[in-house]
Amino acid sequence: MFRLLVLRLTQALVVLLVMSFVIYGLIGLMPGDPIDLMISADPDLTPADAARLKAIYGLDRPLLERYAAWLGTALEGDLGYSRLHARPVFEVLLPRLGNTLVLLGIAFLLTLVVALPIGTIAAVKRDSVADYAINFVAFAGISTPPFWLALLLIMLFAVTLGWLPAGGMGTVGVDSLADRATYLVLPVVTLTLASVGGYTRYTRAAMGEALAQDYVRTAWAKGAGLTRIVVRHALRNALIPIVTIIALDFGTLFSGALITETMFSYLGMGKLIYDSVMGNDFNVALAGLLMATFVVLVANLLADAAYTVLDPRISFRSHEADR
């Protein structure tokens, strides 16, 4: 168990290191680097001046050397300074991460609370009207562009009915939990609706498979009741593939959060990454992307840990046997 976690942690760190290099290289390819910005700010700047500036900032050195220098300072906790926010990147990043985790956490729990029972009902009542209806609605959810869903919800609840704010984090001058909550409703609903269809279909598929197993037939033969069979026998086993898919899908959930945050001007990580890419705030874009990757990797690790709780058969040995 302990060795498995150490192995997984090392793997995650390697992925993070590789990603940091890839992202560092990509950021360098974006338009409007600091020298570009200086050239556009000062039309008298000659190419020779630009070359000298590049040398001063170390931009003439090879990519690997620059990356190593960045990594060194980053590991000391210095992620640089934000151009747009005029503050250290770390100070900009932390509150945004908190906001995103609040949005993601609530939407994720809501999604599970809706998708697990509904997907189970669809699997148990296979080929019934309820199954077809659930399947249809799930497909509709998967097929709706999330940003358009946000638009429709804003149109209905903010423009037409006027019940909820169209975006933002809270009313200016009001600082209460209830006020904050009203601003959370539409983003949470959007993100939940955007992901619930997929999770319902995973649950339906996994439960369908579990219900067809021999141990379920045995349970029926023993005379166990429907609830006991579904919850104790099938769901317990179906949770393993469901957790796998959910863990792999966490990146998708984060992508959904980016869209939701941008649509509702919710000050989270996703919107921060988008704004910093659009505004040439490279230090923030780099750190934000790495933080997003880190969050997703941690979610994957948690899913790995959840396996061992869900299924005592899975141990380090059987993991080795899979390879």
């Binding site: 974006m30 497909f139 998967i142 498979e209 998708t252 874009a285 992307l289």
Partner: protein
Amino acid sequence: MSAPAAAALAGTSGSTTRLALRRFRRNPVATVSVAVLAVLVLSAIFAPAIEALLGPGASEVDLLNRFAGPSAAHPLGTDELGRDLLVRLLYGGRVSLMVGLTAAGAAAVIGTVLGILAGYYGGRLDALLMRLTDGVISLPLLPLLIVLAAIDLSKLGLPAAWVASEDVSLYRIVVLIALVGWTTVARLARGATLAVRQREFVRAAVALGARNRRVMWVHVLPNVVSPIIVATTLSVGNVILLESVLSFLGLGIQPPIPSWGNMLTNAQELIWTTPALAVWPGLMIFATVIAFNFIGDGLQDAFNPKSRIH
């Protein structure tokens, strides 16, 4: 070659395909989806004809006629620049469908090649390719795509004149989506290849001295094709969604080329005054994507009736 001859040449796969098609036709949702998609494709193909029918210049900028309601000249009204909404929707459909089909097709080719290689050779290559697949699947793709879409192509050494041309955003988005969208097909192709590799006809071909390339191309590929077709159909919908999101965020298809996504870029302000402009493009995306998803689901049931719950 006549159809029966082709079916005879293809051996048993001809009859299983025919059986699958018959099962598919008996699925009402999938059949309706095919009809919906056919209408969408035809209207995209005949967009220029429909534009001509509405009179020349229907899609030209007409600042005196902004936000007009539906009329004989403009069946769905006009947008914020006085352009005909219907004509722009049809041309947007051309772009979205073309991007969806080409990017999904390219991703399927990449995924099939990697998946068959991994499944056929196994060992270290398999482990390496599958770790790569797992890595790409678990990444937060949209933030990464945003960075990739913002890259200055001239810094990659591509000619500046080409980078500045209008069509570049089309090629760029197809390449980007193909680069990240191959993972599902790769896993399915690998799984199917693993199953086929041990079958007698493959071992017989190897025993007869067939080269690896020939075994993979002639014996493995035809037998892994049906899960790939299903996955690719399902992925077209996803690709169209991804394209619309990137175009909406201003990083995909660039105006003046219309796409359903970039027609919604200003929608957040428009919903307060002209909601129709924010509704129609989204409705088109929704109809197209759900049609592809239902067709993919129908194909899945038809090809693989035993595991239809998947």
